[in-house]
Amino acid sequence: MAGTHSRNGWIVWLTFALGLLLSVSPLPQFMEILRPLWLALLLAFWSLNLPHKVGMVTAMFLGLAEDVLYGTLLGQNALILTLITFLVLSLQQRLRMFPMWQQCLVILVIFGLAQLVQLWLSALTGNRQPTLALVLPALVSALLWPWVSFGLRGLCRRYKIN
């Protein structure tokens, strides 16, 4: 049925806009270091559940947006988010079968890898973060994954997004 091909797709974009807002929202000093990778979480969820709609190209454009927001080199976050989406997509079949805690573990590993690439890229551009504390966001994101996942799945069911 052609009519059901794409429905309520704007909600996906709305969540991405919200993700962009969250990724620059002000936080207390001690929590800055723990800021979850909101866009990566959203991308992981949507590319798992709507792989025909959200893929690496979307990830790339969102990454470019994030680059402009953060003032990093144009393409840095784009590369990171593309890599994350690629890894999630290639593990898609297995990830959907996993129980939640196992999904969390996989997310932790993927995001941790992405953050390491991030560290490497920032080192290349001259602002190397002094510590390995930058894998903390990956940990926080992995802990947030169940909630994000349940919440967005509820949203999916409610608005019959596909």
């Binding site: 936080l27 190209v57 144009l74």
Partner: protein, 355 residues
């Protein structure tokens, strides 16, 4: 899927290289920022709303108290300002006598902070003035208490400011007490700067005020930067360890000042000032009188103008300098010498307007 990944990765890397090496992507970036920078504005909304509500419901006694406080502060500042005006004029005059090019002429504009950089390892802030407001790359940013940093990225209506305490930032400073020069580098801690390569025997001690020395050609000279907090002489280290605390409230200030220092030559500056003065005189309908403070029309007889002089300090110095120096400066560039006196007056009026 693998092919697509490869293409996208190559594309991103290419973008990064181009962005790092060339200015090709600057317009793209500024167009994107036009839309995207709104997110900082949106995330700042709750704060704004809170401030609005707080000012609506502020109690009367609080407001009265604040008003009192501001009035006294204003009085104090204006008192200081009067002295400053006289001092500035005197300074300019003395510098003119020395034929020095370093005239103090800076304009400031107020900007508001709208966001912090989300990356906890960099100290950068976003302000609500951008290219369209005349902000330029490398422009110094102050708050009420001292230097804060410099503009590192321009967008149409916003710009990004690198703070002094960022690890990639250093600023040439000098000790206000004795003029000792040093370089203050950021440490990544918002309350600390470190002076690099200060000799163990250097005359620097706790409580010294560090001001910008203007040597890097980027920051104007003479603005307070930090106060020295501790000086550690460790015999195992080749240099003294000097730690300082920035005077500006780097992580608290919401209203900042952008400094527009002009890099025109003194002649251009003098001409501009003279033109501005003429225009003003025309508007006011008054005959262009020579500013009372300056008796400089080259061959003029000093006694004729002397009664009009307000600051008596310079009066004896003037004719002496003129007579001591051969006719050359007055004769070679009368246009520069004549309009130059207009500068202090013009500046005084602009200052009043800024108030």
């Amino acid at each position: 899927m693998g092919v697509r990944l490869l293409v996208l990765v190559v594309l991103s890397v290419a973008l990064m290289v181009v962005d790092a090496r060339f200015a090709l992507l600057k317009p793209v970036r500024s167009q994107m920022s036009l839309v995207l920078m709104q997110t900082y504005w949106i995330t700042d909304l709750p704060q704004r709303l809170y401030q609005g509500v707080a000012s609506q419901f502020g109690s009367r006694t609080e407001l009265v108290a604040e008003n009192e406080k501001l009035k006294t502060e204003n009085l104090l500042l204006q008192g200081r300002m009067q002295k400053l005006a006289a001092l500035t004029e005197q300074n300019v005059r003395l510098r003119e006598l020395l034929n020095s090019s370093a005239l103090v002429n800076e304009k400031v504009e107020v900007a508001e902070l709208i966001g912090m950089d989300p990356n906890p390892f960099t100290h950068r802030i976003i302000i609500n003035k951008g290219e369209r407001d005349g902000v330029v790359l490398g422009q110094p940013v102050l708050d009420a208490r001292g230097l804060m940093g410099q503009v590192v990225e321009l967008m149409p209506y916003t710009s990004r400011v690198l703070l002094l305490t960022d690890t990639t930032h250093s600023i040439p400073v000098q000790v206000n007490r004795n003029g000792l020069r040093a370089i203050a580098s950021g440490t990544g801690n918002p309350e600390r700067l470190e002076l690099r390569h200060v000799a163990d025997t250097a005359d620097i001690k706790e409580g010294d005020l560090l001001v910008s020395s203007g040597l890097g050609q980027r920051f104007p000279a003479g603005y307070p930067v930090a106060t020295v907090k501790e000086v550690i002489h460790d015999s195992g280290q080749p240099f003294a360890i000097v730690r300082a605390v920035p005077t500006a409230a780097l992580n608290r200030s919401r209203y900042l000042l952008l400094v527009f220092s002009d890099n025109r030559t003194p002649e251009e500056r003098a001409n501009d000032a003279a033109q501005a003065q003429e225009a003003e005189d025309k508007r006011n309908g008054t005959t262009p009188i020579i500013p009372a403070t300056v008796p400089k029309p080259a061959p003029a007889t000093p006694p004729a103008t002397a009664p009009a002089v307000t600051a008596p300090v310079a009066t004896p110095a003037k004719p002496a300098a003129h007579s001591a120096r051969p006719v050359k400066p007055a004769a070679t560039k009368p246009p520069a010498a004549a309009p130059a006196p207009a500068t202090p007056a013009a500046r005084a009026t602009t200052r009043q307007r800024e108030e």
